[in-house]
Symmetry: C2
Subunit: 146 residues, 2 copies
DNA sequence: AAATATATCTTGCAATATGCAAGTGTAATG
DNA sequence: CATTACACTTGCATATTGCAAGATATATTT
């Protein structure tokens, strides 16, 4: 039974965001699906951070339950599954890129070129549009082959 | 001994961000210090989410080690400690508010008024400046009483 | 001065999360 | 028809987390 004083991770916008981003593995899966064109279980598994299989399965189902990922059988190969970013996930791009710009400013070992932060600061919505177009391209390539 | 293949949570900007924000308690402490004017251990402790004391002590020291909080004895009362947000933490405001705006859009139980997202979308840098001024006010009030 | 209160941590321990290895079921491939 | 690829699932040892309680140090009240 749930305590009457239990805090639902809703209501406060920071708390709601923390409920989804306050987990490093969810965070990195969102990076991969939004920025690196990754769509399949094995794509995520092969990211350099080395997520383990049970954790990956758990986070994929959590992100699907949260309405961030749309799980579909790959039209090119029925034994493969694709996880497409939903509109809700796509709309995270401004915040995600904002955080990454901040990181490049403070991580002394950053691998990101200066041009990354520059491009976003100069033209935020244009930069977002560029990433969205990339997502569209990846998804279209997959779905056109059904 | 550290494995030679260990991933340092540096280099990739998303990974660096995940190293700090990929923890819900750090996330909420940053909300409190940047948006709610909280500065002391007991301020954070009394947030509605109910962080426990060991976790709070741990996260405060991690955020201090990460250069996000500046720990200082309260000039008004030597037995009290203040945690001030550093410039590095302040510069997280655009990303944090971006995430919160996203939350208000998708959390059906959001408590945030529409005006919050509207204000930020209409004038992002003005909104940030408003929050920074609030931080300045809180910090000045404390430090002027030494 | 003694008792009480406030503020900031520590410690102990149980619950939870994680990582690794191995196994399962289904579908394509040779 | 055996093999491989893919997407998980399971079991289990280890690591991390979180709650409750205790500790310490100063400040306030009586």
């Amino acid at each position: 039974m749930k305590s009457p004083n239990a805090i639902l991770w809703q209501g406060c916008p920071a708390r709601y965001a923390a409920g989804i981003f306050g987990d490093k593995w969810c965070f990195l899966i969102l990076r991969d699906v939004l920025l690196h064109g990754k769509r399949s279980y094995s794509d995520f598994l092969n990211s350099p951070e080395g997520i383990s299989t049970n954790i990956l399965a758990d986070r994929l189902s959590k992100l699907e339950a949260a309405g961030m990922l749309d799980r579909q059988v790959d039209p090119r190969k029925a034994s493969r599954v694709c996880y497409f970013p939903t509109r809700k996930a796509r709309n995270v791009l401004p915040a995600l890129i904002s955080m990454m710009v901040w990181s490049t400013q403070y991580d002394e070992h950053t691998e990101a070129p200066d041009s990354f932060a520059k491009a976003f600061k100069a033209d935020p919505s244009g930069t977002i549009a560029w990433y969205e177009a990339d997502i569209d391209r990846v998804d279209r390539d997959i779905l056109s082959q059904s």
